[in-house]
């Protein structure tokens, strides 16, 4: 049973509900089946490891043949673009993330996200206005995908009309993060490499243009520098832009979709949210605990032999941190499998922790809060058409591919 648990988690047939598998995994908090990765599934171990300076996020520190089915994925793409800060350690990570943050958040751009509130609202209102036939709504295609994509495009300064082009690349690259045992590795490498290449070329053209005609968007400001002494090389800028674009595409969509799915499965909470919109704030935190859009971090490796929970993990091993499992750890959360937005203690791992914690977190939070509040307010008597819904292949960035719902009508804004 144990031997197969990792492949069970990766197995598409378990995508709709991996949580019983995680519970099984937690019985062996540091799981290792011989030549696979070391899998960490309990809250406190994961939380500690995210702050442990003996752990690297850089693929080059992985021993050859460390048994990581993901090891090759982005590496091969590296010939197209250097690794993004997601896959770098300090000081490079810190330098790039700091520079990326300058046009995004405090201290240099404290009002950037706050100033987007109006546009967020307008966009949500427009998408709900245009849902069409209330009996046939696909919440993913019609709302949860276009909403964050519109936002990331606006933020970065990527023309929304190019969406059809980079959608394919983003999907391909997101899939490359996934340990899909069924896929032909050579084929995957090539597809991933091509997608990175094409996305890189596309962004390079855009950045060139922004250098000449800079606007208020992040790409322009990253391209021209933010009046500081540190600057990014063009290749670093390309990697960073690609990271933001993909992350902006492939994560919040799941948060919003998982949110509506969870609400529709918990009609009492749905009603409470409709009555008290302010509940959306803690509700999204509980959602990040209950159904995190990033289920696991497969990219960590120790720089020395380290001991975790009585198990020695050798230097260079591949380690997976199962965030979604830590979030359901009964040693940390009371009734962990209960969705309870009134929970007093929701210190979840849904956005990671430590230096690699989610860069776009404040925007994701606002998007999800607003999306769930407005959908709940405006959809009359919404119901799931199928439960579980069909899921995307991806086990890491896990979420429904479609969320078909029906309702009695859409209230005017």
């Amino acid at each position: 049973m144990k031997q197969g648990i990792l492949s069970d988690i990766l197995d598409y047939s378990n995508r709709a509900n991996p949580y019983p598998l995680y519970a099984e995994l937690r019985k062996t908090p540091v799981f290792h089946d011989g030549d696979g990765p070391y899998v960490i599934s309990t809250y406190h171990h994961i939380q500690s490891l995210l702050h442990d300076p003996r752990l690297s996020s850089e693929a080059r520190n992985l021993a050859a043949g460390a048994g990581d089915p993901l090891a090759g994925a982005e590496d091969e793409g590296a010939s197209a673009l250097p690794p993004s800060f997601l896959k770098l350690d300090p000081p490079e990570h810190d330098r790039l993330r700091r520079m990326t943050n300058r046009p995004f958040g405090p201290p240099d751009s404290p009002h950037r996200v706050d100033d987007m509130r109006g546009f967020l609202h307008t966009t949500v209102t427009g998408l709900i206005d245009n849902l069409g036939d209330p009996e046939r709504i696909d919440l993913v295609d019609q709302f949860a995908y276009p909403f964050p994509v519109t936002m990331i495009c606006r933020l970065l300064g990527v023309p929304r009309e190019d969406e059809a082009r980079f959608h394919v690349w983003a999907d391909t690259l997101a899939a490359s993060l996934d340990p899909d045992p069924g896929a032909d590795p050579k084929e995957r490498e090539k597809t991933t490499h091509d997608a990175r290449m094409e996305l890189g070329m596309y962004l390079a053209g855009l950045i060139e243009e922004r250098r000449k005609n800079p606007g208020e968007d992040m790409l322009s400001q990253l391209a021209v520098g933010h009046g500081q002494d540190e600057t990014m090389s063009t290749m670093e800028l390309l990697s960073t832009a690609a990271l933001l674009l993909i992350a902006g595409h492939e994560t919040t969509v799941n948060l919003i979709t998982n949110g509506m799915l969870t609400l529709l499965r918990n009609p009492d909470v749905l009603r409470q949210l409709r009555e008290t919109p302010a509940l959306a704030v803690p509700l999204v935190e509980e959602l990040l605990r209950f159904e995190p859009p990033v289920q696991l971090l497969p990219q960590r490796t120790p720089l020395a032999d380290i001991e975790v929970g009585g198990v020695t993990i050798p230097k260079g091993s591949s380690m997976w941190l199962i965030l979604a499992s830590g979030n359901r750890d009964p040693d940390r959360f009371e009734n962990p499998d209960r969705f309870d937005p009134y929970r007093k203690d929701i210190q979840h791992l849904g956005l990671g922790s430590g230096i690699h914690s989610c860069f776009g977190a404040p925007l994701a939070r606002l998007e999800a809060q607003l999306a769930l509040t407005e959908l709940t307010r405006r959809l009359e008597n919404p119901r799931l058409v199928e439960d579980p819904p069909p899921y995307r292949q991806n086990a890491v960035l896990r979420g429904p591919r479609h969320l078909r719902i029906t309702c009695d009508g859409v209230r005017p804004s």
Binding site: P110, D114, L279, R343, K344, P362, L366
Partner: protein
């Protein structure tokens, strides 16, 4: 007025509060946090967002102030939660 305090032993500079309520919380350098310990009432909603979003649950807002507002959000526990 909304009284608040941040347990800066816990704070690790994730800056969620400074993103979400930039007129109450401000980053001072990359990791340092400054905040107005008496936020304006108009900031109540944003402060509630900041409190909930804090990854280390370091922000304590007055229970009584928040209750008076009839906020749907559960009040913060912040510094209280560890012994």
């Amino acid at each position: 007025m909304l009284r608040l305090v941040v347990d800066l032993n816990r704070c690790q500079g994730y800056a969620q509060c400074a993103f979400l309520a930039p007129d109450v919380f401000a980053m001072h350098g990359d990791e340092g946090l400054l905040y107005d310990p008496q936020a304006q009432d108009a900031q109540r909603e944003r402060v509630a967002q900041a409190v909930a979003a804090c990854p280390v649950q370091a922000i304590l807002v007055d229970e009584l102030d928040m209750a008076a507002a009839g906020s749907g959000a559960p009040a913060a526990t912040g510094e209280a939660s560890d012994g």
